[in-house]
Symmetry: C2
DNA sequence: TTCTATGCAAAAGCTTTGCAAATCA
DNA sequence: TGATTTGCAAAGCTTTTGCATAGAA
């Protein structure tokens, strides 16, 4: 039995003396309609485009709650931009990125996962999210 | 023959029509005196404590230049905090970052390097730089 | 009915920028 | 000398907060 994100959020709110308002409902649905990561300001624009003109404060507050509820995760890029995306429990984010053509490859090697899990265990760290990015030149671009 | 960070920065500045001022010199020396990562505001305080009272703008501008020169690197924690640290050319930067207190641990495990090198070799990718960040809760914060 | 959530505007952090004066090459 | 850099203050951005009102339970 799998709960919908909205249901999960509702459970979280019940447990934490929160209330499920129409704004929160709409925000949750919007977030889980987006496959990709998103920035808050863009997200607000998307809501606006659908005539869901909630205040910035409400959107920020709801995103914070979704984060606390563990339904979404935050990604901080090196350029200072902050993204959010719905949390995929079974998917890590390992990428190989070509500096020349921008092509992105996914790494699928669970020996990395094992090593990292062991490391975390050793230092008593409880991992929640990982990001592994390798930058360089892909085969084709290297030949040139 | 190994160049000092200051010399490298000087070279970078010459190539980019920049000038090596006394402020920049002092900032570079301070940065390379710090073994750990640092936040800009703390860094400014450290400079102040040594009576190097440069304007915030100058510090930010110099850090930006050091970043462009490839002498330091930026780390963004999920709680929004931004850290910098000097770049060790012979060492990859794998970090474990606590989302609660912001503490950063370094991973030293060259088996990761081997796996990644193998992976790159397999797909014909020539790696230049990698960043591996694990976010979660450190021992102390998890207990709370 | 009671307490949380919302919207607004103001404030808070952090970082960047415009401009005149200072400094480097 | 001529161009970049500095310091200051102001402005920009993103995010948070105080407060009165609206709304959920």
């Amino acid at each position: 039995m799998k709960l919908t994100p909205l249901k999960k959020f509702e459970n979280y709110l019940v447990e934490n003396e929160g209330r499920l308002t129409s704004q929160k409902k709409a925000i949750v649905q919007e977030v889980f309609n987006i496959d990709d990561h998103f920035e808050v300001e863009n997200f607000i624009d998307m809501l606006r485009a659908e005539d869901k003109k909630f205040s910035r404060a409400t959107v920020y507050r709801t995103i914070k709650q979704l984060l606390e509820a563990g339904l979404i995760q935050k990604i901080s890029a090196l350029n200072g931009k902050v993204f959010y995306e719905r949390k995929m429990t079974n998917k890590e984010h390992d990428h190989v990125i070509c500096n020349s053509c921008g092509e992105i490859y996914e790494i699928n090697d669970n020996s990395i996962q094992k090593i990292l899990d062991n490391y975390c265990k050793d230092i008593g760290f409880r991992p929640e999210y990982r990001s592994l990015h390798i930058y360089g030149l892909c085969k084709a671009c290297f030949k040139r």
